[in-house]
């Protein structure tokens, strides 16, 4: 693994700096590092990474794994992409907001709330994004148990009752 010096360096630094919080760190290939993180440590770890040159948060990918919901934070220092993955139980999905570190993350965090129903603690209230204003509250389309067919059937029934 000597060919990936930069990648190994950032991985080792993260593991040494945040023991216990950072787990399963992996150098996947050149310029790609993946790691799992305890949600509570998220703002602190991202702030440290930002100071270390990872100035861009490229995007946040929310996901549904069944038992857990979660989000991948794709950190970017232009060449290297470090994906920080946090998981939160489906029964009570909560992730701390990172707006203090990356103010630009506001639409990514709103997306987590809107499409996956992950509560982002510290996200100021406001207009919803990206779903339509009249999209039913409490439905989270990117969850695996949300089926497009059910939604369409529901909408068709609603439309029928309105036209009567």
């Amino acid at each position: 693994m000597t060919e990936f010096t930069q990648e190994e360096k950032i991985k080792a630094a993260l593991e040494a700096k945040f023991p216990g919080s950072v787990t399963n760190a992996l150098v996947q290939r050149r310029n790609r590092v993946w790691l799992d993180l305890a949600p509570a440590a998220l703002p602190e770890v991202l702030a440290w990474m930002k100071a270390e040159g990872f100035q861009y948060l490229s995007t946040v990918t929310g996901f549904d794994e069944g038992e857990n919901l979660g989000a991948c934070y794709h950190m970017n220092n232009n060449a290297m992409l470090v994906t920080v993955k946090v998981r939160t139980p489906r029964a009570k999905p909560e992730i701390p907001s990172i707006l203090a570190v990356f103010p630009v993350a506001v639409s990514y965090e709103k997306e987590l709330e809107d499409t996956l129903g992950i509560k982002v603690l510290g996200l100021p209230p406001g207009r919803r994004y990206p779903l339509a204003e009249d999209f039913p509250v409490g439905q989270y389309p990117l969850r695996k148990d949300w089926k497009t067919e059910d939604y369409l059937a529901q909408q068709a029934a609603l439309l029928k009752s309105e036209t009567k």
Partner: protein
């Protein structure tokens, strides 16, 4: 003076796409703005989960009408990485060729839109006429003007013949001449300077803080380009310059895009003249082993990033797309603040949000009271004849 908040969009004549800007005005000056998005949310990420990898290729192509090649290339780079497929060099070269042609087409389109927004409609007419040359190149190579569908998992769908190479080079040579004229125009024309200098300012530290990408970031002096930072396709073998400018305004964004056109022509020439021999695609199995990949790509508007997770079936578990405009819109609200209401369309257009186009027109003949539908060839002929009368002869092309 009292502050007034006015909505700008989602439906507004100056906007090409539905998005909403709430502008706080003090007289004619903007003192604050918020951007509301989501009017064009189509649920593609959810749709991708119920389609096979190959079907998704055509879905992803339609994320954007202009960066269609950018999105599919990012997507299949992920798929091929997960499938551990070795894509032939010739396929990578053809992808690079299409990518740069797409950049030329997009930047010329932007020059036109910028000209239009600043009231310089001649520039709009000129660049969109010249853009037809590059659209013709794309049609020649792929069979289509906008959604080229050249990519397939494991390679490309069409090879490039010697005649096609010659034809593309001929058109690029013409565009090189035209672009020199645009660069001269951008740098010397007083109307452009008056309309763009110091408009929509974005200092480097703000661009960095707000995560600006592509020409928007480069016009603020940030040397950020995925083609240089993490070369994909054949970019590590090509000789090109990373263009930056330090005026931090709409003028800088114009100069960066005009100069990038020259770099793209250079790359197109290099790729065509050194096209590697060999097959253009390899077979990739339908089912892909579980894994995760994330890749980025320098689209004409900036960094495009996709995340893909596979689960062992022929359909993806999760696909995430972040297009460059999403990253750049964060900078727009800063650019608008302190500016004038009249500059709003230009500032928004300066990050180059996208729009689509059509290739036929219906014309109502008032004298005869008849409707005539012009096809592509007839319209083109009409255009050429029209310019011939004005002393510009394109019939040699």
């Amino acid at each position: 003076m009292a502050k007034i908040t006015i909505p700008f969009g989602p439906q507004h004549p100056a906007l090409k796409e539905p998005e909403n800007f709430m502008l706080v005005l003090e007289g004619e000056q903007i003192s604050g703005s918020t951007i509301n998005l989501g009017y064009n949310h189509r649920g593609m990420e959810k749709a991708a989960e119920s389609r096979t990898y190959i079907q998704n290729l055509y879905l992803i192509e339609r994320v954007c009408g202009i960066c269609s090649h950018s999105h599919t290339t990012t997507y299949i780079t992920n798929v091929e990485e997960l499938a551990k497929a070795e894509v032939p060099q010739r396929a990578l070269a053809i992808r690079t060729l299409i990518a740069e042609l797409e950049r030329v087409h997009s930047h010329l389109l932007w020059l036109g839109v910028a000209g239009y927004e600043m009231g310089f409609e001649t520039l709009f007419m000129y660049t969109w006429r010249d853009r037809e040359q590059v659209l013709d190149c794309l049609e020649l190579l792929s069979g289509n003007r906008v959604h080229y569908s050249i990519n397939t998992i494991g390679g490309v769908r069409r090879d490039v013949s010697a005649e096609q190479k010659a034809e593309v080079l001929k058109r690029i040579k013409f565009l090189e001449g035209r672009t020199q004229y645009y660069i001269k125009l951008a740098l010397e024309e007083p109307t452009i300077a008056a309309r763009t200098a110091d408009v929509g300012r974005l200092p480097p530290e703000v661009a960095l803080e707000r995560g600006a990408v592509g020409p928007t970031a480069r016009a603020s002096g940030i040397a950020r380009d995925v083609r240089k930072d993490e070369p994909y396709l054949l970019y590590d073998k090509l000789d090109f310059k990373l263009i930056t400018h330090n005026t931090n305004d709409v003028f800088g964004r114009l100069v960066v895009r005009a100069l990038e056109l020259v770099e793209s022509y250079k790359m197109i020439n290099q790729v065509i003249n050194n096209l590697p021999e060999g097959p253009i695609s390899v077979k990739v199995p339908m089912k892909i082993a579980p894994g995760e990949a994330v890749n980025h790509y320098e689209a004409p508007r900036g960094e495009d990033i996709h995340y893909l997770k596979s689960n062992g079936t022929d359909k993806p578990e999760r696909l995430k797309v972040r297009a460059p405009t999403m990253a750049n819109l964060q900078s727009v609200s800063y650019m608008l603040e302190g500016g004038w209401l009249a500059d709003v369309p230009l500032v928004i257009a300066a990050i180059d949000p996208c729009m689509s186009c059509t290739d036929r027109a219906a014309v109502w003949d008032q004298k005869k009271g008849k409707m005539a539908v012009y096809g592509w060839e007839e319209l083109r002929k009409l255009g050429i004849e029209h310019y011939k009368h004005r002393g510009i002869d394109f019939s040699k092309l």
